[in-house]
Amino acid sequence: MANTTLIGAITDALRIALQQDERVIILGEDVGKNGGVFRATEGLQEEFGETRVMDTPLAEAAIIGASIGLAVNGMIPIAEIQFLAFAYPAYEQLVSHVSRIRMRSQGRFSAPMVVRAPYGGGIRAPELHCDSPEVIFAHVPGLKVVVPATPYDAKGLLLAAIADPDPVLFFEPMRIYRSFREEVPEGYYTVPIGKARVVQEGTDCTVFAWGAMVPVALQGADLARKQHGISVEVIDLRSLSPLDRDAIRDSVMKTGRAVVLHEAPRHAGFGAEIVATINDLALDALMAPVMRVTGYDTPYPLFALEDAYMPDAARVAEGIVQAMNYEIGARL
């Protein structure tokens, strides 16, 4: 066991993957000597050489496009996009090719690859470094979208992503890269992709979150308990595609109330899919509308405004209380 941060666990997973499988290579901007702008690949080029850990020119579409070629020709590329908001120029390659090559070729070709990208707000980063566009990737069939919220999960999910026969987008919540440490097993292990995690059990209301919003969910749950005696279940979805619909159903069937929490704008955000999943599978149990505690329907602002924009514990607690106080039929 090692006591490590989320980003430390990522470096650990990358090292293990590079050691285990010659086909694995890392490519991206500044991943080599510089070890990545967050140091996720720190020391790896030195250890494995320039042909395993490659700095590329500044061109995201080519990084992803080349990764497809690498993957279909026998390699397992782990591409780093420096910040998720800089993946937009690669969206075409992800949607039109990465996600489709297996289906288009009916299994003749496939693109087992991982795209890692730090994302999300809350660290006073410069403009356009903080977007949370998970939903635009989760919507795309053929891709898997994974977001770890703990060091343990970060390592296990990343190793699972690298072993996955299909392309996995691995979004790293940079706000919690180093915000806490936890014991993580040495050596190889995986956490299955597509299974949610019950972070905390509760009976009155469920909060669904992922990534950097998981700690916020816990704080909000704590507030609600302390101030109002509400017993809150917190679920970390871990994977937005595939989505663990059973876990969502089971929890809401039990609690009857739910809050969805994310940083992205509300309108057509991933929260809507969770609401729709509850609608599909647990409507009868629902005693109040699912509350969406999210970013506002504005661009992620410059950082002087980010505290106002980002959902925090108070807003989570507010959502929980609203769900609890809701009177069925009151609006009819």
Binding site: G69, S105, G142
Partner: protein, 347 residues
């Protein structure tokens, strides 16, 4: 750099008569396929189709210079490249009938499926070439694209990657003068697409794309260079698309008949015929035989295509992921039961 010189093959008699005859046969066969495909589309027996007539020399000359292990990343008009590299004609037709079999080369044929979004296949080739280099394979990658594709960011990014990483890669541009209706002079200010290689510190070559021997030789050289660690080359084959952009297009809206006439005189098949005649290797018997053979093969492919069994829902659901997610399995069940209730799947 030989950017400004259009190579003239006649000076270099490095191609055997057998090879030239094979080139002729292939060009003839692909032209038959092409014309039949256009006709099939008109009859409603094929979907929208992108004809290649006029570009046979560029495609066949270049594809013949490849080794079987080389990895080809085509655009959507390279039916002749696909065929020469090992894709059955039937499958090529199936693709244009909206069937996945057409995007799936037989095992051992290193041919990526057609790329419809312009220029997007070019970075794939860079990746495949990088894999070949990293793995130490005796393999190069080749990507085909049009003049229009050179305006897209993906072309640029991949050219730069390949040059700076010295990848075993050939960029093969068929400059057929148009991107749908846009003439090359409105696409780019340079006279020759090959000049664009300069921006990347790459070699650029312009070749007469209607001269099958010239194309073959230029490609052979670029392949050898790439295979021996000499890095990438951009080849521009100057040619002309005789037909419309696709069967959904009407080229007469934007091209003068006189221009088309001029290019008819430069017909690649006629040019090969003349070359064969010069070598005394062209006879009426032989060509009748060639035509008959082409006719047979093409007809057989069309019949095969038409007798293909209907598609099944498996093709819709089974290869989205290797292991079907639960929710998708539920959706497949729903679709199957809908189908059982009487909705049919078009084949």
């Amino acid at each position: 750099m030989s950017v400004d010189s259009i190579r003239v093959s006649q000076k270099e008699p490095q191609v055997s008569t057998d090879m030239l005859q094979r080139m002729y046969e292939l060009m003839w066969m692909m032209r038959q396929l092409d014309r039949r495909a256009v006709a099939l589309q008109r009859q409603g027996r094929l979907g929208t189709y992108a004809p290649l007539e006029g570009q046979e020399a560029a495609q066949i000359g270049s594809a013949l210079a490849l080794r079987v292990q080389d990895f080809v990343f085509p655009s959507y008009r390279e039916h002749a490249v696909a065929y020469v590299h090992g894709m059955p004609l039937k499958r090529i037709l199936l693709y244009w009938n909206g069937r996945y079999d057409g995007a799936m080369p037989p095992e051992g044929v290193n041919l990526f499926p057609v790329s419809v979004p312009i220029a997007t296949q070019i970075p794939h080739a860079a990746g495949a070439a990088l894999a070949a280099k990293l793995r130490g394979l005796d393999q190069i990658a080749v990507t085909y694209f049009g003049d229009g594709a050179t305006s897209e960011g993906d072309f640029h990014e991949a050219m730069n990657f390949a040059a700076v990483m010295e990848l075993p890669l050939v960029f093969f541009c068929q400059n057929n003068g148009y991107a749908i209706s846009l003439p090359s002079r409105k696409q780019t200010k340079v006279q020759r697409i090959a000049e664009k290689a300069t921006a990347y510190g790459m070699e650029g070559v312009t070749v007469d794309g209607n001269d099958v021997i010239a194309v073959y030789l230029a490609m052979r050289e670029a392949v050898a260079k790439a295979a021996s660690g000499g890095g990438p080359t951009l080849i521009e084959a100057v040619t002309y698309r005789m037909g419309s952009h696709t069967t959904a297009d009407d080229a007469s809206r934007y091209r003068d008949a006189s221009e088309v006439e001029m290019w008819k005189a430069r017909d690649p098949i006629l040019r090969a015929e003349n070359a064969l005649r010069e070598r005394g290797a062209f006879s009426e018997e032989w060509v009748t035989q060639v035509r008959k053979h082409a006719e047979e093969i093409v007809t057989e492919a069309i019949l095969d295509m038409q007798s293909e069994p209907p598609v099944t829902l498996d093709q819709l659901f089974d290869h989205v992921y290797r292991d079907m997610p639960k929710e998708l399995a539920i959706q497949k069940q729903e679709a199957l039961s809908r189908q059982a209730k009487g909705e049919s799947v078009r084949g």
